[in-house]
Amino acid sequence: MLFNSFEFLLFFPLVFILHWFVFNNGKSSQNLFLIIASYFFYSCWDWRFSFLLGFSTILDYYSGLVISNSNDLKTKRNWMRLSIFINLGILCYFKYTNFFIDSFIHLFNSIGFHCDPFTLNIIIPIGISFYTFHGISYVLDNYYGRIKATTNLVEYSLFVSFFPLLVAGPIERATHLLPQLSRKRKFSYVQSIEGCRLILWGMFKKVVIADSLSPIVEDIFTNYQNHNGITLIIGVISFAFQVYGDFSGYTDIARGISKLLGIELILNFNFPYFSRSIPEFWSRWHISLSSWLNDYVFTPLALKFRHHEKYGIFIAIFITFLISGFWHGAGLHFIAWGGYYGLLYIPYIFSKKGIKSIVSKKSDPLKASDLPKIILTFSLVCLGYVFFRSPELSHSFRFLDHLISDCSLSQKVAYKSFLIYPLLILLADLIRFKSNFLDSIPVYILIVLMILHHSTNQSNFIYFKF
Protein backbone atom coordinates (compact mmCIF):
# COMPACT_ATOMS: atom_id res chain seq x y z
CA MET A 1 0.00 0.00 0.00
CA LEU A 2 1.80 3.07 -1.28
CA PHE A 3 1.17 6.55 0.11
CA ASN A 4 0.17 7.61 -3.40
CA SER A 5 -2.24 4.69 -3.92
CA PHE A 6 -6.03 4.52 -3.92
CA GLU A 7 -5.93 1.97 -1.07
CA PHE A 8 -4.09 4.43 1.14
CA LEU A 9 -6.64 7.09 0.27
CA LEU A 10 -9.24 4.82 1.87
CA PHE A 11 -7.01 3.54 4.68
CA PHE A 12 -5.73 6.80 6.13
CA PRO A 13 -8.99 8.78 6.53
CA LEU A 14 -10.41 5.75 8.35
CA VAL A 15 -7.37 5.61 10.65
CA PHE A 16 -7.62 9.36 11.25
CA ILE A 17 -11.32 9.21 12.20
CA LEU A 18 -10.96 6.13 14.41
CA HIS A 19 -7.84 7.53 16.11
CA TRP A 20 -9.43 10.87 17.08
CA PHE A 21 -13.09 9.95 17.51
CA VAL A 22 -13.28 6.30 18.61
CA PHE A 23 -10.02 5.28 20.27
CA ASN A 24 -9.56 8.61 22.04
CA ASN A 25 -10.01 7.48 25.66
CA GLY A 26 -6.35 7.64 26.49
CA LYS A 27 -2.85 7.09 25.19
CA SER A 28 -3.10 3.29 25.57
CA SER A 29 -6.11 2.97 23.30
CA GLN A 30 -4.62 5.46 20.82
CA ASN A 31 -1.33 3.55 20.76
CA LEU A 32 -2.94 0.11 20.55
CA PHE A 33 -5.12 1.23 17.67
CA LEU A 34 -2.12 2.68 15.80
CA ILE A 35 -0.23 -0.61 16.27
CA ILE A 36 -3.13 -2.55 14.76
CA ALA A 37 -3.33 -0.04 11.88
CA SER A 38 0.46 -0.23 11.37
CA TYR A 39 0.51 -4.04 11.27
CA PHE A 40 -2.42 -4.03 8.85
CA PHE A 41 -0.55 -1.51 6.67
CA TYR A 42 2.58 -3.68 6.78
CA SER A 43 0.63 -6.90 6.12
CA CYS A 44 -0.69 -5.44 2.88
CA TRP A 45 2.74 -6.17 1.36
CA ASP A 46 3.25 -9.63 2.86
CA TRP A 47 1.51 -10.68 6.08
CA ARG A 48 4.21 -13.28 6.87
CA PHE A 49 6.78 -10.59 7.58
CA SER A 50 4.58 -9.11 10.32
CA PHE A 51 5.85 -11.98 12.47
CA LEU A 52 9.42 -10.96 11.75
CA LEU A 53 8.61 -7.39 12.73
CA GLY A 54 6.96 -8.67 15.90
CA PHE A 55 9.94 -10.89 16.73
CA SER A 56 12.40 -8.04 16.20
CA THR A 57 10.26 -5.79 18.40
CA ILE A 58 10.07 -8.26 21.30
CA LEU A 59 13.78 -9.09 21.05
CA ASP A 60 14.87 -5.45 21.30
CA TYR A 61 12.27 -4.57 23.92
CA TYR A 62 13.39 -7.41 26.18
CA SER A 63 17.11 -6.78 25.52
CA GLY A 64 16.59 -3.12 26.42
CA LEU A 65 14.89 -4.08 29.68
CA VAL A 66 17.64 -6.52 30.72
CA ILE A 67 20.40 -4.07 29.78
CA SER A 68 18.76 -1.17 31.58
CA ASN A 69 17.95 -3.11 34.76
CA SER A 70 21.25 -4.92 35.12
CA ASN A 71 24.14 -3.51 37.15
CA ASP A 72 26.60 -6.00 35.70
CA LEU A 73 28.50 -4.60 32.72
CA LYS A 74 29.19 -8.10 31.37
CA THR A 75 25.47 -8.97 31.33
CA LYS A 76 24.70 -5.66 29.62
CA ARG A 77 27.39 -6.27 27.00
CA ASN A 78 26.25 -9.84 26.31
CA TRP A 79 22.63 -8.80 25.77
CA MET A 80 23.67 -5.84 23.63
CA ARG A 81 25.82 -8.14 21.46
CA LEU A 82 23.12 -10.81 21.24
CA SER A 83 20.49 -8.32 20.15
CA ILE A 84 22.71 -6.68 17.55
CA PHE A 85 23.95 -10.04 16.28
CA ILE A 86 20.39 -11.31 15.73
CA ASN A 87 19.20 -8.01 14.22
CA LEU A 88 22.10 -7.81 11.79
CA GLY A 89 21.88 -11.55 11.13
CA ILE A 90 18.25 -11.22 10.02
CA LEU A 91 19.09 -8.14 7.92
CA CYS A 92 22.06 -9.88 6.28
CA TYR A 93 20.11 -13.05 5.57
CA PHE A 94 17.25 -11.32 3.78
CA LYS A 95 19.18 -8.54 2.11
CA TYR A 96 22.67 -9.83 1.42
CA THR A 97 22.62 -13.66 1.14
CA ASN A 98 22.40 -13.66 -2.66
CA PHE A 99 25.05 -10.96 -2.89
CA PHE A 100 27.48 -13.06 -0.83
CA ILE A 101 26.68 -16.23 -2.81
CA ASP A 102 27.26 -14.35 -6.06
CA SER A 103 30.52 -12.83 -4.79
CA PHE A 104 31.87 -16.21 -3.61
CA ILE A 105 31.01 -17.83 -6.95
CA HIS A 106 32.86 -15.04 -8.77
CA LEU A 107 35.82 -15.48 -6.44
CA PHE A 108 35.91 -19.27 -6.91
CA ASN A 109 35.63 -18.96 -10.69
CA SER A 110 38.35 -16.31 -10.82
CA ILE A 111 40.87 -18.60 -9.08
CA GLY A 112 40.29 -21.51 -11.44
CA PHE A 113 37.39 -23.48 -9.91
CA HIS A 114 34.15 -23.89 -11.77
CA CYS A 115 30.91 -23.08 -10.03
CA ASP A 116 27.58 -22.42 -11.77
CA PRO A 117 25.83 -19.25 -10.69
CA PHE A 118 22.71 -19.66 -8.57
CA THR A 119 20.56 -17.55 -6.28
CA LEU A 120 18.20 -18.35 -3.42
CA ASN A 121 14.59 -17.29 -3.72
CA ILE A 122 14.59 -14.80 -0.84
CA ILE A 123 12.04 -11.98 -0.65
CA ILE A 124 13.35 -8.88 1.14
CA PRO A 125 10.88 -7.76 3.81
CA ILE A 126 9.98 -4.16 3.06
CA GLY A 127 11.41 -1.61 5.49
CA ILE A 128 13.71 -4.13 7.19
CA SER A 129 16.73 -1.80 6.95
CA PHE A 130 14.78 0.95 8.68
CA TYR A 131 13.15 -0.90 11.54
CA THR A 132 16.36 -2.86 12.22
CA PHE A 133 18.16 0.47 12.72
CA HIS A 134 15.38 1.60 15.09
CA GLY A 135 15.95 -1.47 17.22
CA ILE A 136 19.75 -1.28 17.18
CA SER A 137 19.82 2.38 18.23
CA TYR A 138 17.36 1.65 21.05
CA VAL A 139 19.49 -1.20 22.42
CA LEU A 140 22.73 0.79 22.11
CA ASP A 141 21.20 3.84 23.80
CA ASN A 142 20.21 1.58 26.68
CA TYR A 143 23.65 -0.01 26.80
CA TYR A 144 25.41 3.36 27.00
CA GLY A 145 22.93 4.59 29.62
CA ARG A 146 21.59 7.40 27.44
CA ILE A 147 18.01 6.27 28.00
CA LYS A 148 16.12 4.11 30.47
CA ALA A 149 14.32 1.21 28.82
CA THR A 150 10.58 1.63 28.54
CA THR A 151 8.50 -0.89 30.47
CA ASN A 152 5.57 -0.38 28.13
CA LEU A 153 5.61 -2.92 25.30
CA VAL A 154 2.77 -1.15 23.47
CA GLU A 155 4.71 2.13 23.30
CA TYR A 156 7.88 0.38 22.19
CA SER A 157 5.98 -1.63 19.53
CA LEU A 158 4.52 1.56 18.12
CA PHE A 159 7.97 3.20 18.14
CA VAL A 160 9.17 0.41 15.80
CA SER A 161 6.07 -0.19 13.72
CA PHE A 162 4.45 3.28 13.37
CA PHE A 163 3.25 2.99 9.77
CA PRO A 164 4.27 6.42 8.37
CA LEU A 165 7.94 5.66 9.06
CA LEU A 166 7.89 1.87 8.91
CA VAL A 167 8.93 1.28 5.33
CA ALA A 168 11.30 4.14 4.46
CA GLY A 169 11.97 6.16 7.57
CA PRO A 170 12.89 8.71 8.73
CA ILE A 171 14.93 6.67 11.20
CA GLU A 172 13.60 7.90 14.52
CA ARG A 173 15.32 7.86 17.90
CA ALA A 174 13.76 6.61 21.09
CA THR A 175 14.65 9.90 22.82
CA HIS A 176 12.51 11.80 20.32
CA LEU A 177 9.60 9.49 19.57
CA LEU A 178 8.95 7.49 22.77
CA PRO A 179 8.12 10.56 24.92
CA GLN A 180 5.46 11.50 22.35
CA LEU A 181 3.94 8.02 22.59
CA SER A 182 3.90 8.03 26.38
CA ARG A 183 1.28 10.78 26.66
CA LYS A 184 -2.24 11.15 25.35
CA ARG A 185 -2.29 13.03 22.06
CA LYS A 186 -4.69 15.91 21.66
CA PHE A 187 -6.00 17.04 18.32
CA SER A 188 -4.40 20.27 17.13
CA TYR A 189 -5.93 22.19 14.26
CA VAL A 190 -2.68 24.05 13.52
CA GLN A 191 -0.64 20.82 13.53
CA SER A 192 -3.18 19.13 11.24
CA ILE A 193 -3.18 21.97 8.73
CA GLU A 194 0.62 21.86 8.71
CA GLY A 195 0.36 18.09 8.17
CA CYS A 196 -1.97 18.57 5.18
CA ARG A 197 0.43 21.10 3.65
CA LEU A 198 3.32 18.66 4.03
CA ILE A 199 1.33 15.83 2.44
CA LEU A 200 0.38 18.00 -0.52
CA TRP A 201 3.91 19.26 -1.13
CA GLY A 202 5.24 15.75 -0.67
CA MET A 203 2.78 14.39 -3.23
CA PHE A 204 3.69 17.24 -5.55
CA LYS A 205 7.41 16.42 -5.31
CA LYS A 206 6.78 12.71 -5.79
CA VAL A 207 4.01 12.62 -8.39
CA VAL A 208 4.60 15.78 -10.40
CA ILE A 209 8.40 16.03 -10.27
CA ALA A 210 10.02 12.67 -9.46
CA ASP A 211 7.62 10.52 -11.48
CA SER A 212 7.90 12.88 -14.46
CA LEU A 213 11.69 12.66 -14.37
CA SER A 214 11.67 8.89 -13.91
CA PRO A 215 11.18 7.86 -17.60
CA ILE A 216 13.77 10.44 -18.77
CA VAL A 217 16.34 9.10 -16.30
CA GLU A 218 15.44 5.48 -17.07
CA ASP A 219 15.94 6.03 -20.78
CA ILE A 220 19.25 7.88 -20.39
CA PHE A 221 20.76 5.37 -17.96
CA THR A 222 19.51 2.29 -19.84
CA ASN A 223 20.35 3.45 -23.37
CA TYR A 224 23.36 5.58 -22.53
CA GLN A 225 25.18 4.39 -25.69
CA ASN A 226 22.56 6.14 -27.82
CA HIS A 227 23.01 9.51 -26.11
CA ASN A 228 25.85 12.00 -26.15
CA GLY A 229 27.79 13.26 -23.14
CA ILE A 230 25.70 16.37 -22.53
CA THR A 231 22.52 14.29 -22.44
CA LEU A 232 24.16 11.89 -19.99
CA ILE A 233 25.06 14.84 -17.75
CA ILE A 234 21.46 16.00 -17.93
CA GLY A 235 20.39 12.43 -17.09
CA VAL A 236 22.53 12.46 -13.95
CA ILE A 237 21.27 15.89 -12.89
CA SER A 238 17.72 14.77 -13.58
CA PHE A 239 18.30 11.76 -11.36
CA ALA A 240 19.59 14.08 -8.63
CA PHE A 241 16.22 15.84 -8.64
CA GLN A 242 14.26 12.65 -9.15
CA VAL A 243 15.76 10.94 -6.11
CA TYR A 244 15.42 14.11 -4.06
CA GLY A 245 11.81 14.66 -5.12
CA ASP A 246 11.02 11.01 -4.52
CA PHE A 247 12.63 10.56 -1.13
CA SER A 248 12.06 14.01 0.36
CA GLY A 249 8.50 13.85 -1.03
CA TYR A 250 8.01 10.52 0.73
CA THR A 251 9.43 11.99 3.96
CA ASP A 252 7.15 15.03 3.74
CA ILE A 253 4.13 12.77 3.31
CA ALA A 254 5.26 10.60 6.25
CA ARG A 255 5.77 13.68 8.44
CA GLY A 256 2.44 15.13 7.33
CA ILE A 257 0.55 11.92 8.12
CA SER A 258 2.22 11.76 11.52
CA LYS A 259 1.27 15.34 12.27
CA LEU A 260 -2.34 14.48 11.50
CA LEU A 261 -2.06 11.79 14.18
CA GLY A 262 -0.45 14.24 16.62
CA ILE A 263 3.09 12.89 16.29
CA GLU A 264 6.13 14.89 15.14
CA LEU A 265 8.83 13.13 13.11
CA ILE A 266 12.32 14.51 12.66
CA LEU A 267 13.35 16.62 9.67
CA ASN A 268 15.10 14.46 7.07
CA PHE A 269 16.06 16.96 4.35
CA ASN A 270 17.16 20.57 4.59
CA PHE A 271 17.98 22.03 1.15
CA PRO A 272 20.77 19.46 0.51
CA TYR A 273 21.69 20.79 -2.94
CA PHE A 274 22.63 24.15 -1.41
CA SER A 275 25.46 22.55 0.56
CA ARG A 276 28.88 24.18 0.33
CA SER A 277 30.86 21.07 1.22
CA ILE A 278 30.43 17.32 1.40
CA PRO A 279 30.15 17.27 5.24
CA GLU A 280 27.46 19.95 4.95
CA PHE A 281 25.68 17.86 2.30
CA TRP A 282 25.51 14.94 4.71
CA SER A 283 24.09 17.19 7.41
CA ARG A 284 21.28 18.17 5.00
CA TRP A 285 20.60 14.91 3.10
CA HIS A 286 18.80 11.94 4.70
CA ILE A 287 19.62 13.53 8.06
CA SER A 288 18.17 10.69 10.12
CA LEU A 289 20.46 8.11 8.46
CA SER A 290 23.54 10.38 8.51
CA SER A 291 23.14 11.14 12.19
CA TRP A 292 22.45 7.45 12.93
CA LEU A 293 25.65 6.41 11.16
CA ASN A 294 27.50 9.24 12.87
CA ASP A 295 26.40 8.14 16.35
CA TYR A 296 26.43 4.34 16.04
CA VAL A 297 29.14 3.62 13.46
CA PHE A 298 31.50 6.55 12.99
CA THR A 299 31.86 7.58 16.64
CA PRO A 300 32.63 4.07 18.02
CA LEU A 301 35.10 3.50 15.16
CA ALA A 302 36.74 6.90 15.61
CA LEU A 303 37.07 6.23 19.35
CA LYS A 304 38.65 2.87 18.57
CA PHE A 305 41.19 4.45 16.21
CA ARG A 306 41.53 7.74 18.12
CA HIS A 307 45.24 7.40 18.86
CA HIS A 308 46.04 7.25 15.12
CA GLU A 309 44.80 10.84 14.96
CA LYS A 310 43.81 11.99 11.43
CA TYR A 311 44.54 8.58 9.89
CA GLY A 312 42.24 7.00 12.46
CA ILE A 313 39.54 9.53 11.60
CA PHE A 314 39.92 8.76 7.90
CA ILE A 315 39.63 4.99 8.48
CA ALA A 316 36.53 5.54 10.60
CA ILE A 317 34.91 7.78 7.97
CA PHE A 318 35.82 5.47 5.12
CA ILE A 319 34.37 2.39 6.83
CA THR A 320 31.25 4.36 7.80
CA PHE A 321 30.58 5.32 4.19
CA LEU A 322 31.26 1.81 2.94
CA ILE A 323 28.63 0.58 5.40
CA SER A 324 26.31 3.37 4.27
CA GLY A 325 26.70 2.24 0.67
CA PHE A 326 26.15 -1.41 1.59
CA TRP A 327 23.06 -0.48 3.62
CA HIS A 328 21.56 1.08 0.49
CA GLY A 329 21.85 -2.14 -1.43
CA ALA A 330 23.65 -5.40 -2.00
CA GLY A 331 25.76 -4.37 -4.96
CA LEU A 332 29.32 -3.33 -5.68
CA HIS A 333 28.08 -0.08 -7.20
CA PHE A 334 26.53 0.93 -3.85
CA ILE A 335 29.77 0.06 -2.04
CA ALA A 336 31.68 2.10 -4.64
CA TRP A 337 29.28 4.99 -4.04
CA GLY A 338 29.98 4.81 -0.31
CA GLY A 339 33.73 4.50 -0.86
CA TYR A 340 33.62 7.50 -3.19
CA TYR A 341 32.23 9.65 -0.35
CA GLY A 342 34.83 8.26 2.03
CA LEU A 343 37.55 9.42 -0.37
CA LEU A 344 35.91 12.83 -0.78
CA TYR A 345 36.54 13.44 2.93
CA ILE A 346 40.33 13.18 2.52
CA PRO A 347 40.85 16.89 1.70
CA TYR A 348 38.66 17.88 4.64
CA ILE A 349 40.48 15.60 7.10
CA PHE A 350 44.04 16.35 6.08
CA SER A 351 43.72 20.05 5.19
CA LYS A 352 45.28 22.58 7.53
CA LYS A 353 41.90 23.79 8.67
CA GLY A 354 40.73 20.23 9.22
CA ILE A 355 37.29 18.70 9.28
CA LYS A 356 34.84 19.60 12.01
CA SER A 357 32.51 16.64 11.78
CA ILE A 358 31.29 13.87 9.53
CA VAL A 359 28.07 15.89 9.48
CA SER A 360 28.72 19.57 10.14
CA LYS A 361 26.84 20.89 13.15
CA LYS A 362 27.03 24.59 12.44
CA SER A 363 25.73 26.07 9.23
CA ASP A 364 26.37 29.72 8.39
CA PRO A 365 23.77 31.56 6.30
CA LEU A 366 24.22 31.22 2.55
CA LYS A 367 25.91 34.09 0.68
CA ALA A 368 26.13 34.83 -3.05
CA SER A 369 29.87 34.18 -2.86
CA ASP A 370 29.10 30.57 -1.84
CA LEU A 371 27.84 29.79 -5.36
CA PRO A 372 31.09 28.21 -6.68
CA LYS A 373 31.26 25.95 -3.60
CA ILE A 374 27.61 24.98 -4.03
CA ILE A 375 28.16 24.13 -7.72
CA LEU A 376 31.29 22.13 -6.91
CA THR A 377 29.56 20.18 -4.14
CA PHE A 378 26.52 19.49 -6.31
CA SER A 379 28.79 18.29 -9.14
CA LEU A 380 30.56 15.90 -6.79
CA VAL A 381 27.23 14.62 -5.50
CA CYS A 382 26.03 14.09 -9.10
CA LEU A 383 29.17 12.15 -9.94
CA GLY A 384 28.36 9.86 -7.01
CA TYR A 385 24.84 9.36 -8.38
CA VAL A 386 26.29 7.63 -11.46
CA PHE A 387 27.33 4.77 -9.14
CA PHE A 388 24.14 4.99 -7.11
CA ARG A 389 21.78 4.84 -10.08
CA SER A 390 23.61 2.30 -12.25
CA PRO A 391 22.42 -1.31 -12.03
CA GLU A 392 25.99 -2.54 -11.54
CA LEU A 393 29.51 -1.22 -11.09
CA SER A 394 30.73 -1.96 -14.63
CA HIS A 395 27.72 -0.03 -15.99
CA SER A 396 28.81 3.04 -13.95
CA PHE A 397 32.27 3.02 -15.53
CA ARG A 398 30.92 2.48 -19.05
CA PHE A 399 28.44 5.31 -18.48
CA LEU A 400 31.22 7.66 -17.30
CA ASP A 401 33.49 6.59 -20.15
CA HIS A 402 30.77 7.35 -22.69
CA LEU A 403 30.00 10.65 -20.97
CA ILE A 404 33.61 11.82 -21.27
CA SER A 405 34.26 10.50 -24.77
CA ASP A 406 31.21 12.02 -26.45
CA CYS A 407 30.56 15.54 -25.28
CA SER A 408 29.09 17.00 -28.45
CA LEU A 409 25.91 19.06 -28.23
CA SER A 410 22.68 17.26 -29.02
CA GLN A 411 19.47 18.43 -30.61
CA LYS A 412 17.50 16.25 -28.24
CA VAL A 413 18.54 17.74 -24.94
CA ALA A 414 15.80 17.33 -22.36
CA TYR A 415 15.60 20.98 -21.33
CA LYS A 416 12.44 20.31 -19.36
CA SER A 417 14.20 17.98 -16.97
CA PHE A 418 17.19 20.30 -16.78
CA LEU A 419 15.40 23.56 -16.03
CA ILE A 420 11.75 23.24 -15.09
CA TYR A 421 11.78 20.43 -12.51
CA PRO A 422 14.71 21.74 -10.43
CA LEU A 423 12.95 25.12 -10.26
CA LEU A 424 9.67 23.50 -9.25
CA ILE A 425 11.33 21.50 -6.49
CA LEU A 426 13.09 24.61 -5.18
CA LEU A 427 9.79 26.46 -5.17
CA ALA A 428 8.09 23.62 -3.31
CA ASP A 429 10.75 23.62 -0.59
CA LEU A 430 10.86 27.40 -0.24
CA ILE A 431 7.09 27.60 0.21
CA ARG A 432 7.12 24.70 2.63
CA PHE A 433 9.75 26.33 4.83
CA LYS A 434 8.70 29.97 4.51
CA SER A 435 5.12 31.13 4.28
CA ASN A 436 4.47 33.68 1.57
CA PHE A 437 1.83 34.73 -0.92
CA LEU A 438 2.06 31.36 -2.67
CA ASP A 439 0.96 29.64 0.52
CA SER A 440 -2.72 30.13 -0.27
CA ILE A 441 -5.79 28.03 -1.05
CA PRO A 442 -5.85 28.70 -4.85
CA VAL A 443 -2.23 27.54 -5.08
CA TYR A 444 -3.08 24.35 -3.19
CA ILE A 445 -6.07 23.71 -5.47
CA LEU A 446 -3.70 24.06 -8.42
CA ILE A 447 -1.27 21.60 -6.78
CA VAL A 448 -4.04 19.04 -6.21
CA LEU A 449 -5.04 19.35 -9.87
CA MET A 450 -1.42 18.88 -10.96
CA ILE A 451 -1.06 15.82 -8.73
CA LEU A 452 -4.27 14.33 -10.13
CA HIS A 453 -3.13 15.09 -13.66
CA HIS A 454 0.19 13.32 -13.12
CA SER A 455 -1.12 10.45 -11.00
CA THR A 456 -2.10 8.13 -13.84
CA ASN A 457 1.18 6.25 -13.58
CA GLN A 458 1.58 5.09 -10.01
CA SER A 459 5.18 4.21 -9.27
CA ASN A 460 6.99 2.94 -6.21
CA PHE A 461 9.22 5.05 -3.98
CA ILE A 462 12.95 4.58 -4.68
CA TYR A 463 13.86 4.13 -1.01
CA PHE A 464 11.29 1.35 -0.48
CA LYS A 465 13.78 -1.16 -1.85
CA PHE A 466 16.41 -0.18 0.73
Binding site: L73, T299, I355, S360, K361
Partner: protein
Protein backbone atom coordinates in the same frame (compact mmCIF):
# COMPACT_ATOMS: atom_id res chain seq x y z
CA UNK B 1 43.30 14.51 43.69
CA UNK B 2 39.81 15.61 42.72
CA UNK B 3 39.38 17.21 39.32
CA UNK B 4 36.88 19.99 38.62
CA UNK B 5 35.51 21.82 35.60
CA UNK B 6 38.30 24.37 35.98
CA UNK B 7 40.85 21.64 35.17
CA UNK B 8 38.96 20.79 32.01
CA UNK B 9 38.31 24.36 30.85
CA UNK B 10 41.71 24.99 29.17
CA UNK B 11 41.39 21.70 27.26
CA UNK B 12 37.90 22.62 26.03
CA UNK B 13 39.13 26.05 24.92
CA UNK B 14 42.14 24.55 23.14
CA UNK B 15 40.24 21.77 21.32
CA UNK B 16 37.32 23.98 20.33
CA UNK B 17 39.62 26.92 19.49
CA UNK B 18 37.41 29.29 21.43
CA UNK B 19 38.74 31.20 24.45
CA UNK B 20 35.31 32.41 25.44
CA UNK B 21 33.89 28.99 26.24
CA UNK B 22 32.63 28.55 29.79
CA UNK B 23 31.66 25.14 31.17
CA UNK B 24 29.88 23.75 34.17
CA UNK B 25 29.05 20.19 35.24
CA UNK B 26 25.70 20.45 33.46
CA UNK B 27 27.13 21.67 30.15
CA UNK B 28 26.14 19.38 27.26
CA UNK B 29 27.33 19.18 23.64
CA UNK B 30 24.31 21.17 22.45
CA UNK B 31 25.50 24.15 24.54
CA UNK B 32 28.77 24.48 22.61
CA UNK B 33 28.42 24.88 18.82
CA UNK B 34 31.94 23.56 18.21
CA UNK B 35 31.29 20.35 20.21
CA UNK B 36 30.43 18.00 17.35
CA UNK B 37 31.17 14.32 16.86
CA UNK B 38 34.68 14.81 15.54
CA UNK B 39 35.76 17.41 18.07
CA UNK B 40 34.41 15.04 20.69
CA UNK B 41 37.04 12.50 19.62
CA UNK B 42 39.77 15.17 19.74
CA UNK B 43 38.50 16.24 23.16
CA UNK B 44 38.75 12.67 24.47
CA UNK B 45 42.31 12.32 23.14
CA UNK B 46 43.33 15.68 24.66
CA UNK B 47 41.85 14.82 28.08
CA UNK B 48 43.49 11.39 28.07
CA UNK B 49 46.88 12.89 27.19
CA UNK B 50 46.62 15.70 29.72
CA UNK B 51 45.50 13.58 32.67
CA UNK B 52 47.41 10.47 31.55
CA UNK B 53 44.31 8.29 31.72
CA UNK B 54 42.59 5.92 29.28
CA UNK B 55 38.83 5.76 29.17
CA UNK B 56 36.91 2.73 27.98
CA UNK B 57 34.60 3.09 24.99
CA UNK B 58 31.65 2.37 27.26
CA UNK B 59 32.65 5.21 29.59
CA UNK B 60 33.05 7.71 26.74
CA UNK B 61 29.81 6.72 25.07
CA UNK B 62 27.91 7.14 28.32
CA UNK B 63 28.99 10.78 28.78
CA UNK B 64 26.05 13.09 28.52
CA UNK B 65 27.45 16.21 30.18
CA UNK B 66 30.74 17.61 31.47
CA UNK B 67 29.89 16.26 34.94
CA UNK B 68 30.06 12.69 33.57
CA UNK B 69 33.61 13.31 32.28
CA UNK B 70 34.64 14.60 35.71
CA UNK B 71 33.05 11.60 37.41
CA UNK B 72 35.13 9.21 35.30
CA UNK B 73 38.27 11.32 35.76
CA UNK B 74 37.86 11.08 39.53
CA UNK B 75 37.31 7.32 39.60
Amino acid sequence: MTHTTQDLLPIFRYVFENDEIEISETTVAADIPEWDSLNHIYLVVAIEKHFKVKFTTHQIQSWQCVGDIITHLNL
